[in-house]
Symmetry: D2
Subunit: 367 residues, 4 copies
């Protein structure tokens, strides 16, 4: 089905394998006139890179982005924007072992089942490096949203059982935390907990939360391309995500209507507002003008140093030890990926909404 393109009016088409020649993205449907540069895109890609020495792979990945098309004099031209990150180290490493068996929790087996064989070098297309294209493309969406007064901000909400406490959270803390937590106390605890994981040759999961402010009301296309449905797809498509929720999310399943309903009221600017935000900013699949709040549950890194049981391609039960050092957690590096996918989704639906009323078409074409 050609599953490498996301979006309808604003699209990203990503490509590339972990240890191939490079990875990249084609951004299509980008409006003309947006200031953009390799420097701007790079700041986003850098957030994908190891956040702290301990909790991510020691691989040195420069991940320098090049823009090959779609801009002139620092502005987008309306034509497709092709961005590439070349892989610096296509090491002629020995992959024979990893090629011979199926790592638990990885996509080795399913890729073989689907395609008959797989690019086993570094995980191939199912590697976390696949997100490079998402982040580069999503960076453009984030920049457009900013211009429109919409801010997308994600952070680590929890690592294992350690959750942030909103009372201690400051946005400024996020990038300073080695685990991208806005709560310094939780961040410290989490750092220690991750040290334990490394010692235990284990890994752990966590949750990323994403908040979008400045959202206009009216965004989302019922009944299948609802804002929360498209976000659900966007977030679930990120590797290692096992759950998605919006607003009160799974908690809503245990709540009473009288508690979960958000009462409307007129605020002091005589605008409609909600007393609470259990809806997470979406009612009936359409944004209600409140903050958008979503969460993504990530499973633990499947690559762990411990001995694991599995099967090889000869159909034998074997024990394996996956070599190399691996992140004890996926979450921190995925924070910017969640932002990228969220922004891409929202922008696509912002564009879709521009034709929701005859008056909008008349204002545009009859002026």
């Amino acid at each position: 089905m050609a599953g490498s393109t996301f979006g309808t009016n604003f699209t990203i088409t990503t490509w590339g394998e972990s240890h191939g020649k490079g990875l990249g993205v084609v951004v299509d449907g980008c409006p003309a006139g947006l200031p953009i540069s390799e420097e701007i895109i790079q700041t986003y890609l850098n957030r994908r890179k190891p956040g702290g020495i301990k909790y991510s792979t020691p691989r040195k990945e420069a991940d320098k982005v090049q823009i090959l098309s779609g801009t002139m004099d620092g502005l987008t031209t309306g034509t497709p924007i092709s961005m590439v990150v070349m892989n610096e180290t296509q090491r002629s490493k020995d992959y024979s072992e990893i090629a011979s068996y199926y790592r638990p929790g990885h996509a080795d087996y399913t890729f073989d089942a689907k395609y008959g064989f797989r690019d086993y070098r570094g995980g191939g297309r199912s590697s976390g490096r696949e997100t490079i294209g998402r982040v580069a493309g999503g960076a453009i969406a984030i920049e457009i949203l900013k211009t429109l007064g919409i801010q997308v901000s994600a952070y680590t909400y929890s690592i294992g059982d350690i959750e942030i406490n909103y009372n201690r959270c400051q946005k400024e803390n996020i990038l300073e935390s080695p685990v991208y937590m806005p709560d310094p106390e939780a961040s410290l605890k989490a750092a220690k907990y991750l040290d334990d994981q490394i010692r235990n040759q284990d890994s752990v999961g966590g949750i990323v939360e994403c908040v979008v402010t400045g959202m206009p009301a009216g965004i989302g296309e019922p009944v299948f391309d609802k804002l929360d449905a498209q976000l659900g797809k966007a977030i679930m498509s990120i590797g290692a995500v096992k759950g998605f929720e919006i607003g009160s999310g799974f908690m809503a399943s245990k709540m009473n209507g009288s508690a979960n309903n958000d009462a409307f009221f007129m605020n002091e600017d005589h605008e409609i507002e909600k007393m609470s935000n259990n809806a997470g900013g979406v009612l009936g699949g359409i944004s209600d003008g409140s903050k958008l709040i979503l969460r993504a549950a990530f499973k633990p890194t499947p690559s762990i140093a411990r001995t694991q049981e599995t099967v090889n391609k000869d159909g034998e039960n074997i024990s394996i030890n996956i070599k190399g050092r691996h992140d004890p957690i996926i979450v921190p590096r995925a924070v910017v990926v969640v932002e990228a996918m969220t922004a891409t989704t929202i922008l696509d639906l912002l564009i879709a909404n521009m034709s929701s009323r005859m008056d909008y078409l008349k204002d545009f074409y009859m002026k």
Copy 2:
């Protein structure tokens, strides 16, 4: 963006409002030669109707489906299948009150914000009746999957805090339970709890779980049209769903890799199997041949009898009492909707997978 079509190769396009002339669906891309009839579709639609007297609206909705195209002599012909359910009661009721204010938890405000006005009669397009088209269309997908040995089965997993206990569950119990729970003990408890809700003029949320057996490995199209990503969209697009998870889901965020990884082993039929199924049947966005397990979190019914605070269209803060009787819970009637959306998604991806290898094309065209 024309959000009323779901799918790529097998599509459903739904239409209709709660109190308009009718509701329906156009199913396109249905393979020729499937036995289908209004009777078969009706059995699915009937499950959407009130499951028990107490816990659903007393409205009498015959919801008789008519097939208007796409079949001959009881078989699908490969052309689009149009199905319609006419609304029997387009009561000339007085809607002036409900038209004048925004019900908390409903899409009244967001539809106005998007389209400038709304069809306020019975909720219009954002009514639960919108799912009629989904169920009629999804019924065809379910029938196709059955032919291929794939069974989709959903049920109520929890109502408020009352969860099923797998040890007490039998598939046969589902349709006998007034709340579609496979665990009779939990069902009884839930029934009593819903009685309380009615007395309290309140409502409650719950979780639907869906299990798919007989799934072949290899289904799902990385990186954006992954099986779990498409399911995420499908399920999140159902009204009132606030969360989606697959396999260990949100629990995975608290687990260690050593516990969450499912070890592979060769079973006695010398097939690759997994010791556990935290993955929920999906690795890297592709089915692994295990059972598919997903859950959808539904918020409580937003329409409750209690007095609620809100605003009216004149921008005044008001108190309202929504008239009429309403379901204290959405979940039981949504069970078949979850099945329908799950099946539609899987079928679309089963088709996409048929061209994943050159050998498949050669086998098909060179025979």
Copy 3:
């Protein structure tokens, strides 16, 4: 591939067979607030019906359209608009003969080859009645375009060798001509020529020309969804069309650049205009603000009374005489179909263009 939906932001999804229960269309992505009614749609459908007694089938087809959803108080609501025309005469005719062989020039053989069997009653889905959904859906697009000052007007350009002479053409003549020709002299000649065809038990082809005035410059999405590319698909998808051209079209292949290039100049309103319009209103796949001019070549009606050679389903060579009376020409009734498809295409691209510049998004969302 689910080929029954056309468009991206404004879509029509058609369904129905010639002798099934009915035919119809779901229009999705229609902006809210357009005045629409069954009466308005009916005027378009009536133009699809026999234009003159002699040159079209004597079947009485009321083709009364019903709008089942998507409007309230005479205005579109932004939700999908479902329209249905029920077939009045599902005669229990004997189709055994027509089911047994493959009519030359028809889709009997190819439908069997694709789907394994076909709905042979009246041509099934490949009947000309399939265009009912196109016309009903396209009518809405035409109405929207009118609101935006864009007029779509098609007419018969030629029947066999008889072409219109622009010097004698008046738009008012079109609907008065039994063959929808704007040139009364050519119309008279064509009528006589068609009499000959009937006498000869034969049929003839012709060309429909469509002119669009009021087109803004800038419409079309390079490089694949160019205005002329999308129109090419739209027009070629109409049954019996074998050729499509825009502006000087096939003539351009014989012209010199110095003659085919349209010189730009500043007109008296100080707007950019072209001296000539060989481009047909499209340069680089984007409208240039001139009149859009396209032509569709229709083959002769394949159903003729003469004896024809063919094969039957038993693989025998046979001679056949197709019973019933048939139109000696397809063109006149197809005129409104060409308008419908042209308008649908243009509207979809008008919407797409609304996000072509950052300034447009800023104007829309930052006001």
Copy 4:
């Protein structure tokens, strides 16, 4: 609308400007296991390059293709294939003149009208170099079709008034002719005629014909994604194409049904065949198993050396002389582009057809 992607199941997404850093394509949905290499792709790209010294631009364009992803050990892996051609000469030429006015017959004006400004360097995205991505992507489609026994072959059918004579045509002649004509006599005449054009500082149009052999019956998805409709879009999307026809095409508009209908008969292999092929291999939008025959009408090269009238960006009427040498004709270099777009279209529909019957799904999944 993000118009840079073509196809549904097998897609090409092209990007790049004439004088930007490079041009390329992402091919998605390519089945795994196809042997492919840069050498194979290069042979197609080389046919896009100047065919003969005299009739094409003297620019030296190495146009070396690199495959950056989607293959391993010389086989496609099922993941997206990214191919890039870097522009060698990004000359810091003075473009100020060409930036200041609108060349007749070019897309300068329409790009400005749409996007507010344009990349004027060498035509930017509307340059003929845009087809590099189409050819690289289409090459893969052609290779897949070959594997399935389907051959796509295009050639120059006419240049100005000079048409090929089928009696003198040999497929082997095509690549030997400086204008890619299979008829040596016509080729000679055309060559002389083009000499005249150069002397006259003029250009001329022509027609490309494309024949596809080995087509199975049953390909095409009614009613909008018919084989001829999708081909119409594919071909019309090529720059400079002003007309498209299939089979008897525009001639059909002047023919009688008795002459245009192709009689079926049982051939000596007891297969259904047609006596003639006015249909061009398509009936009802579905392939009939005969040769597919289509034609594309190209306008003359708009860039000519003669003085031309136009306007500049200051709104003044001016006379211009476009510098540099330009091809007197577009057609020969477009031959391989027509093949590429034809093959891409057919492959996409071949895949779609694999799910047209329940039996096909059963054969695939129940074996």
